[in-house]
Symmetry: C2
Subunit: 411 residues, 2 copies
Amino acid sequence: MEKVICFRNIGELIQVQSRRQTPKLVKKTRCALLVSQGRVNRVIRESEVNHHDFSREVDLKGRSVLPGLVDCHTHLIFAGDRKDEMEQRMAGTSYMEIHKNGDGILNTVNATRQATEDELYETARLRIRRMMTLGTTAFEIKSGYGLDLDTEKKMLRVGQRLRKNLRVPLTLTYMGAHAAPQGKTIQQYFEFVMEHLPEFRNLADGVDIFCERDVFTVAHLRRLFLHAKLVGFHQLRAHVDEFAHQGGCHNAARLGAISCDHLEHITPHDIRALQLSGTTAVLMPGVTFFLGGKKNPPVHAMIEAGVTLALATDCNPGSGPSYNMQTVLGLAQSLYRITPDQALIAATHGSARALDGHNDYGGLLPGQRADFIVLKTNDYRDLFYYFGENFVDQTYSAGKKVNGEKDPVAF
Amino acid sequence: MEKVICFRNIGELIQVQSRRQTPKLVKKTRCALLVSQGRVNRVIRESEVNHHDFSREVDLKGRSVLPGLVDCHTHLIFAGDRKDEMEQRMAGTSYMEIHKNGDGILNTVNATRQATEDELYETARLRIRRMMTLGTTAFEIKSGYGLDLDTEKKMLRVGQRLRKNLRVPLTLTYMGAHAAPQGKTIQQYFEFVMEHLPEFRNLADGVDIFCERDVFTVAHLRRLFLHAKLVGFHQLRAHVDEFAHQGGCHNAARLGAISCDHLEHITPHDIRALQLSGTTAVLMPGVTFFLGGKKNPPVHAMIEAGVTLALATDCNPGSGPSYNMQTVLGLAQSLYRITPDQALIAATHGSARALDGHNDYGGLLPGQRADFIVLKTNDYRDLFYYFGENFVDQTYSAGKKVNGEKDPVAF
């Protein structure tokens, strides 16, 4: 007989169905989740449990069960911190001013170049384990703190090792085009990135570029994307229109980007491009919040246009040190004025779609990975209502409990 | 010999000194905190520890020690929740619209009237215990969900019982003038509140009023304050200028309010009044955030004018269900663009001043209560940098460890 684990006595089970055009949150009460070979078998009524024979039963005590949260945009492999920069910003200096002064990202670049591969691996591993404890079950990680061949490759090897050892869905992105290193112009460094792009094909699933005023242009984005396609990268992503409108979103979508990220300054024209291309819009309210941005992305216009929304932390030492997807859910609700349902769909199914993983995880549907979280209460809206509290009691990846670090680590 | 407890091996100890005009954060490293009879005796260097004899030594393992956080504005005694209302608001209805439709506060009033005194006590006790675990060591609680004599008195008796049993600094405020109950006009109900005011003198330390468009007017505020003074209430507080400018702040300050709370719509004229009267400005960024308010109080103008700022959760089931002062610190930094120092001073010394408790607690200075928190790391800026994470490891009230509920309670 096939081994089936029965997670029984579930007070409320949330799934995200997406067969129709618009993904929908479905709530079942008093039920049990059957898992076999790490995947969802099916959901039955609690009253039916005793008619079956299971290899193992887990009593979830009437609590809420939700699809694991998916963090589809992070830079979580890095060394050092930038708390001093945070204080500078709170005293009035802007993020882009700090960047232009050669500070900001380049501080992290120096620290990351100096760190050994093992050091980077260990801090990133602790970070991911803590994120899992807080409810995240699938990740994306970008390189981009090397800005030279050795360090960029080192970061991606760390990512490969994390994927292999942690056995969670983990998408890797090469983001050489993150900033220009000291001593090179944007143009010089961009040509260098283009020349060496093929060397990263076996290290990453996709590419990304920071398309922004004073960083990389829309022309750079277009060239990178076309070259990346030729080289064989499947997933094209871009940081676009975050601080000002450059047209990056429109161009990235037209060239088949799987996700366009940030989007604070996009226009109806850009939304139309996302709609036509089926590109997922990755929103990171924690960054706007932390940087004190006055402008949120046009979330409601995107919802009306049927654009798939995703949510992510952007976990990085400069513009978004928070790594907690529960925090992102609450920020998204309050800053974007969207309902708990809309935020939760974006942070599960939507983010999975940004990683092309939506058939495999993000909905807690039969056949998908049994990646889920058990809350401390029986109402998933508590995540939003009591903002700032940690409601995740247990995290499961492929049906196995994976609660990691109990406490935050002194990163 | 006097019993002295030595909290040793402190990585970083934060005190708030306020003898000068402007309170200042002082940081000491590698030191030990000596506590006798529940109060701070003095701080010595770690290297001096072995030259003394203590009744007990506690090793704090190089971590940060901060004054306990002070939550100077809450409505934490209540029954029921308003999660449905939250969803309505996220779908587009405004807080004041809900209030005008006879919903909102009145839902909580019905639930609180129906709850027994023991039920109210037990839920409030659990809430406070959880808040203590998250770092709060002094509280203010308002009545105002009864709007009749019996329930208002019941709420305040619950408050008295909490104060007696929990032995933490706890200020009680009578807020009959919170809304009008069903079946009475604002004017009718206000006369009722005025008539019975003396009956609350032995139950509460002060009075409060919700002065806002469509609720109580500035004229009501003035009459209540003058009457409250005559009756013998020492602490006058007011919810003012939250959704629109009514002149409540100016008038409350002129009449000697100890705190003016909310202040989103105050003018330079109001700031001048706060400055002249020495009234503390109580800010609750969690409410603006949760309600989707576009306007923050003029925080920098108040800082420049030398007005004392305080921070609070406003913990209540309608406009601010979050009860976590760590969350308030992060929200204050990011929404108001103030530094970690400024936010921390406001949430300790400032909030203590709003409760007239600043000589007794809030600074961790010699002679003050030994109310402090021990973080999980050695840098208090982690509270701000990794927003959304819980960094409080231990909470001490009068030198005794008081970590309460480990998990959030299903309120």
